[in-house]
């Protein structure tokens, strides 16, 4: 762990050290407290906006010519509330984490600033304000990613993230400028009122540009490459904020611009969203299931979940354009539920991974293990998060994925070839994603936390401090509510759906009561009853077991069976690599691992093997195929451009004179 205090005196005087510690604690409490307070404000404003209290604020002097306009409606309120919830948990967690990791003052200041910027994005009421808040968010997150900038990996990830997020911003900037020019105003309300007059070509251009810009922020394929780089290298509370809240802003942009303001679009918009969503989901989960870095695994899982959400959005748009409003409303509800549940379990997962990282300094699953004994609280928290991410019953993600599958299965195709083809394919993609997601999460939890420690660092792990556990408990509570009682979200979702008339908002969505009922479809499910049945089954089994124990002979103690060896060693365990090996073999064509086997023989005889070296590297194939040529082309081009500025002052003066001449000639 490189800390920002590397160059401070190593042995401070005792009282001096105490004062410094107190000061550090004060700063951490202040930073975390402000972050959590901002989160509370976000939740309060967001929920009030969802329930009809629309907030409108105009600050004319802040930006010249146009001013800053905030306009918070139900949809924005939903995202503000989700971001606020994540920020509360992260703020509380950061109090302990910042002290433990000796955060620099700059990072402590940027954390609440980042949260504030994220809260402003969905609240923006005009193009200019939106772009301002968006850029503030991107800049703050970039600074936070770079907070451990002394490590080379962090700097490289920072450059990658900076370039991708700025390219995304350029796409959004172009799209929104074109949109506001065509829509006749800067305010979203004005554009929305005139959106009918926007020509088809402009709409297509805006859709494609926003899909690129917001898609890169949401981590959709093939613009996902910054996620698995930036998320592992950022400090864990920042990873949690980025992965659980910031990527949602991409989804917000897609819904707000393309569905609420411009929509309803032609049916190929929905189709495009579905294709990109399905591809991202399958690719993300595949990479997650073979990843050995815990935080990289979680980052790929974010791509997977954003893919599922985009798939649901696309399905809603497509179904709605064919008039199946009821099922479209169901798909939209699934998308909203998935956004919330992903925010909850991904916050929790990244915070738990942060506890592990802070305690052991390890992210490599092949070196972890044995944390269940040493960090029981963190292990339980990660378990809840992993259950949520795997989309199984009693996990946070289950209800959303169930609804998504139901809406895809029950979509009426009315002899429409496109729907009849697209929906079963999507069902397949979602099913494959869920199945592989379970494998990825079983690996992360089983290999990372259970069994025996695989390294000395993992053996020396200790439980996280109280504030970190408290932050995680908040996330776990949210996961539990989403898993068992989604009825609590029912009023919120109804209000948000009503604000989305283009995706069947006028229709009643699925009823999220104690029983989940789907209107017009014979399907119902009760997550609460499933949980109750499980609890009762466990209690009955325990009771029967206790009853049977009295008749049993005395148990004999014996050493663990180690296949005849004297004792078990951690080398006998599954590692993350070996667990994923069959999957890697099955998906060999997609993952394209580079395997290298090197056999060294003894000098005396070629029949005796001295050692065998086996090395396999799993580079992201999309990155290798798509990004490497682009980067190479840009580098070549940059070398060309470089020749034009060799450092000669005379040449630069000549450029200036030439430029002036051109301007004079044109404006003659």
């Amino acid at each position: 762990m490189t800390t920002a205090l590397d160059d401070s005196p190593t042995v401070p005087a005792p009282d001096q050290g105490l004062t410094a510690a107190r000061q550090a604690r004060g700063q951490a409490v202040l930073s975390g407290g402000v972050t959590a307070a901002l989160g509370v404000v976000g939740v309060a404003f967001g929920l009030s906006a969802v329930f009809g209290q629309s907030w409108h604020l105009r600050i004319g002097w802040l930006l010249p010519l146009v001013g800053v306009v905030f306009d918070l409606g139900p949809l924005g309120g939903f995202f503000v509330a989700a971001t606020g919830g994540v920020s509360i948990a992260v703020g509380i967690y950061a109090v302990g984490y910042a002290q433990r990791e000796h955060w620099a003052a700059f990072t402590l200041v940027m954390l609440p600033l980042f949260v504030a910027a994220m809260l402003l994005v969905p609240a923006a009421g005009s193009v200019t304000t939106f772009l301002l808040a968006w850029e503030l968010m991107a800049g703050a997150s970039l600074v936070l990613v770079l907070s451990e900038h002394r490590r080379e990996a962090v700097r490289s990830a920072g450059v990658f993230y900076a370039v991708m997020t700025q390219l995304g911003f350029v796409a959004i900037l172009l799209a929104l400028v074109v949109l506001s020019a065509a829509g006749g105003g800067d305010a979203f309300a004005t554009i929305s009122a005139h959106s009918g007059a926007v020509s088809a070509g402009t709409r297509t251009a805006v859709f494609l540009l926003t899909l690129m810009g917001f898609g890169s922020k949401a981590g959709l394929l093939p613009l996902h490459a910054w996620l698995p780089r930036a998320h592992p290298e950022a400090p864990s509370p920042v990873s949690a904020l980025m992965s659980a809240a910031m990527v949602n802003m991409g989804i917000y942009g897609l819904i707000r611009i393309d569905q609420q303001i411009l929509g309803p679009g032609p049916n190929w918009w929905g189709l495009t969203l579905m294709v990109f969503g399905a591809l991202s989901a399958v690719f993300g989960v595949l990479q997650a299931s073979v990843a050995t870095d815990l935080k990289r695994l979680l980052a790929y899982s974010t791509t997977e979940n954003m893919g599922l959400i985009t798939l649901a959005l696309g399905a809603a748009a497509l179904l709605s354009s064919y008039g199946a409003h009821q099922v479209a409303a169901m798909a939209m509800t699934a998308a909203l539920l998935l956004i919330l549940s992903h925010a909850a379990f991904k916050t929790l997962a990244f915070l738990a991974a942060g506890s592990v990282l802070a305690s052991t300094g390890l992210r490599d699953l092949d070196k972890l293990g044995g944390l269940a004994r040493r960090m029981p609280g963190t292990t339980v928290m990660f378990g809840i998060a992993a259950l949520g991410a795997s989309g199984l019953p009693l996990g946070a993600g289950f209800v959303g994925e169930w609804l998504l599958l139901q809406s895809l299965i029950h979509s009426p195709h009315n002899n429409n070839t496109l729907l009849a083809l697209m929906m079963p394919l999507s069902v397949g993609a979602v099913a494959l994603t869920t199945g592989l997601g379970i494998a990825a999460m079983v690996k992360a939890f089983g290999v990372g936390f259970l069994a025996r420690p695989r390294s000395a660092a993992a053996e020396a792990a200790a439980e996280a401090p109280v504030s970190m556990l408290a932050g995680m408990t908040l996330g776990a509570a949210a996961c539990a509510v989403f898993a068992v009682a989604p009825v609590a979200l029912s009023p919120v979702l109804r209000q948000v759906l009503a604000a989305l008339p283009t995706v069947g908002g006028n229709e009643a969505g699925p009823a999220l009561g104690g029983y989940l009922r789907l209107p017009g479809i014979p399907g119902s499910m009760s997550p609460g009853l499933i949980a109750a049945a499980l609890v009762i089954a466990v209690l009955v089994a325990l009771g029967l077991g206790r009853w049977g124990w009295r008749r049993r002979p005395v148990a004999a103690a014996a050493a663990l069976w180690a296949c005849g060896a004297d004792s078990l060693s951690s080398k006998m365990q599954y590692t993350a690599t070996s667990f994923a090996e069959p999957l890697q073999r099955v998906f060999d064509n997609v993952l394209q691992p580079e395997t290298d086997v090197e056999v060294t023989h003894f000098a005396e005889s070629q029949y005796l093997v001295e050692k065998v070296t086996y090395r396999t590297t799993l580079a992201d194939p999309v990155e290798r195929r798509l990004y490497t040529p682009v980067v190479r082309a840009v580098t070549t081009w940059a070398q060309w451009v470089r020749r034009a500025h060799p450092g000669s002052v005379h040449l630069y003066l000549a450029y200036g004179a030439l430029g002036l001449l051109v301007v004079l000639v044109i404006s003659r």
């Binding site: 004999a556 014996a558 050493a559 069976w561 180690a562 005849g564 060896a565 004297d566």
Partner: protein, 159 residues
Amino acid sequence: MSWIGKIGRVGRIVEPASDPPEERVAPPTGVCGSLQLRHVDAGSCNGCELEITGAFSSVYDAERFGARVVASPRHADGLIATGVVTRNMHQPLLNTLKAVPEPRVVIAVGDCACNGGVFAQGYGVVGSVADVIPVDVQVPGCPPTPQQIITALRTVTGR
């Protein structure tokens, strides 16, 4: 689908069962008619392994008399040990025996396991199986035939 016809053409190939042996060994408590065994090769030349494989094959079919080879000593009622006990396998044999829940039965198969056979007093040999752990049933022969192994197993299962 030619394999379905083949099943009919080949018919039963299993050897007819002889009468159960007169002599009986007291089976481990709780075992009646079914015996789960873990096999340990303590240093065998693999001749006995081939015959044991034969005994559990479809021709001799030891499983119809209740004996079964299992993968873990934790699932077993006893051990089948073959070969002389070599120095390298001495401790693993003891560990495996300890891992079998009590009460248990130990069956030594082959001359080497019974008395060291041709390898007795070799430089890498600790002794026969009976020198190292208590043995309940001995099956002599180098190697014993599958029929002999099955007869020995039936003295324990009683079927």
